[in-house]
Amino acid sequence: MMAAWFTGLAALLLLTIAAALWRIWRGPTAADRMMAAQLIGSGGVAVTLLLAAAGQPAARDVGLVLALLAAFAAVGFVKAASHRGAGDPEADDASDARAGRAEGRAHD
């Protein structure tokens, strides 16, 4: 009984996160796309937990790896978006990005 319930719930959860795919397609900003992927990531972890409860305990190990690497794509995104791809938005922001922004204004 419970196994069928959890599998059904996992299916509904998949439908829920499928709706977030729209946000990846539409954007408009890169951050929007990234956060929709994050939503699908945490939804995916929840799906593994439900599948584990539905009678496949090994699913939890996949959930564990997904959880451990949940923020990896976000870190990669932040890096790629940063100064020369090797910075940190907080560091860029505090020092020379401000100079960069001033330059940008001068060009306008």
């Binding site: 419970m2 959890f6 900003t29 956060m35 939503l39 305990p57 976000a74």
Partner: protein, 118 residues
Amino acid sequence: MIDAASLLLSVAGLIFFLAGTVGILRFPDTHSRLHALTKADNLGLGLIALAVALQAESWAAIAKIVLIWALVLLAAGTSAQLVARVALQQGGAPGSGRDDAGPDAVGSTPSGQRDPAG
């Protein structure tokens, strides 16, 4: 009894995941959408983790569920701040869609104050 609690918690978890998705689709600007993702999703996962922990076969299984949940929580607290920061910096870029003005324009909010260097 335990089954009933599991049913209830897992349905509640699904509802919060749904709320996260609805927020991501409906909210008008990038940062508000990030609120929906960070908070609703984590609550959803927490409730589902609780629901399946009640059905777990062993203490080790419960510990693994707790570990998974804690890792996702850590990731959420981190990536929310990082993605919010990038969205803030790219917010003014052309073609990025509508977004709010950012904290450089907070002078008018009651609890905020102008960032001196902004």
